[in-house]
Amino acid sequence: MSTEATIDIDREKGNFSYDTDYEYDAGVGLSKDTVNYITDVKGEDDWVRVFRLKALEVFHSKPLPTHWATKDLENIDFDKFRYYLSKGQQPSRTWDDVPDDIKATFERLGIPEQERAFLAGVEAQFDSEAAYSRMKDELSKEGVIFVGSTEGLKDHPEIFRKYFGKVIPIGDNKFSALNSAVFSGGSFIYIPPGVKVKQPLQAYFRINAENFGQFERTLIIADEGAEVTYMEGCTAPKFETTTLHSAVVELVALKGAKIQYITVQNWSSNVFNLVTKRGLAEEDAEIKWIDCNIGSRLTMKYPGVILKGRGARGEVLSIALAGDGQHQDTGAKMIHAADDTTSNIIAKSISVGEGRSTYRGQVHIPKHLKGCRNNTECDALLINTNSRTDTYPAITVRGNDNSVQHEASVSKVNAEQIFYLMQRGLNEGEAMSLAVNGFINDLVKQFPMEYSVELKRLIDMEMEGSVG
């Protein structure tokens, strides 16, 4: 059996949703009561309650960033969302513990059981609580912690508290504040010094309740010399009304550690996906974000790395596909804060139909640093004349001892390419897919095998839908 067959994800399967009895429901809207309710239900320590309430204040005090970002943000009605839903269950250890209706949802999503069994550890988030989390024995023997964030807060406060909210402070932006107030779900991972996790840790999650914002919070810490790859992917069911997703992901790579964080997202076209992702790289550490955004109404996401220690390396490889009526506002941030730090950004965007792609980059190298290097490449591909792409690179480089390279290109899949491909027998959709997959091929090569195949399939489906 080919690899493709086992990881076939049929996007149409994302269209189902099930009636689910929510044991806990914080109601509609956002207030102190909502936050207190969440923290009570979760049985959190007081410091978490204080953290959440402070974040709520910051959220209310900050304006929407519409002075630089799209006005579409104003269409988010924060009073209409449910901020917390839970079955009130503990994350499950074994597959047998997973409730049947949740299993049914995963079946519909086409996530095969044998694949999960194959994974080093699976954290599958169903709504706001982890429905299934398991770890291979050898991982826990090595001291690796891979749990939901709620469990992490309870069972490992000494590690959690040290790093939580440190890479992305509450007030970083309005949406990080929102997440900090109402977060639930997400993963907490700790890799002890020198431990190199060979298989990628993986999480599948999806949004399953209408008008329910998902605010997962992920914190990954790789101790000195440790290495880990984390993969997240998600498909969401389609709903009539808008859905809000606002995650915060913090990575900490201590001296000589390596973290690779891979995302392939395929949101339904009513989702606002406003995510803050940032890593902190200490001396000789390496953080690599591989970020692929497909779908959603609006995605705003700029994974970043703070290069804090000498010799630290940061990388963002990003692919965005904006279909009709979608806006992918993505990019990267590289904050150089030590000598001899290097960063690399490669961003490719594809705009189809009325789709719009925006690249925003920020590279900051202060004057007093030496030996810093940045390379930025952003390429946009337009599928038809209505598509729109904008590039806003902000590169601040001071001092003579640092170097930056920046290249940007905009190209079109031209009619002659499509004619050529079709003359060889491919139909229009297949021809478009092949050309688009070719455009991102050099980036996709860096993805793990199963993700690159999945990505190719997602693009095939998008392209088939884009031609008449």
């Binding site: 390419q417 027998g425 139909n427 070719g438 991102i440």
Partner: protein, 252 residues
Amino acid sequence: MNDLNIESLNVSIDEKQILKNFSLTIPKGEVHTIMGPNGTGKSTLAKALAGHDDYTIDSGSATMDGEDILAMEVDEVSRAGLFLAFQYPIEIPGVSIANFIRAALSSRLPKGEDIDAVAYYKELYSEMERLGIDRKFTSRSVNEGFSGGEKKRCEILQMAMIKPKYCILDETDSGLDIDALKIVADGVNHMRSEDRGILVITHYQRLLNYIVPDYVHIMMEGRIVKSGDKSLALEVEERGYDWIKEEIGATV
């Protein structure tokens, strides 16, 4: 029925008529050549038959083994069995030759079926060897950064792998040095078969030293004005086209 049959074809681009009552029949098993000065509509013929959007079919018919190809989409014409070797092959960045040809072959299979990868690569490598194409080329992006000769050889490679019923080679010889020309000609000769019709469009007679056609047609002003065998091509090389112009001028 067993032919590529073009009758009284009128084709225009941007309201300018290019093909004027063009007629030609290529039965399976034969190799035909069209020669003619620049701008007489040779490439238009190739692209119009392939179904390119820019060309408007004003009237006439074109059938392949009895099937109306003018009613088909570009990909349908291709899968029905018509292959066009491009005069200027198009670059497809990021798409390897191996994947490209594989996609082309897969498009001919019933939905859900896949090609046998081992057999595919075996055949691909053997065809590449015949055409003197280095194996490293399989992973290179289609036509990107290829020399003129490499592009043309890659066209012949695709043709050999797809095994079409009818082939149109649009100035496949242009830009080739003599060694490359021989290799390409060998590739085409290897494709000659009772089950296949081949149309070679060229400016120059020299290609016909290596691909000996059954018929040579001279095209001017959008139609065939004179037909003969290989000796006609030699005559054109020696005397140019003016005498034919005068001849048809005399008959009009």
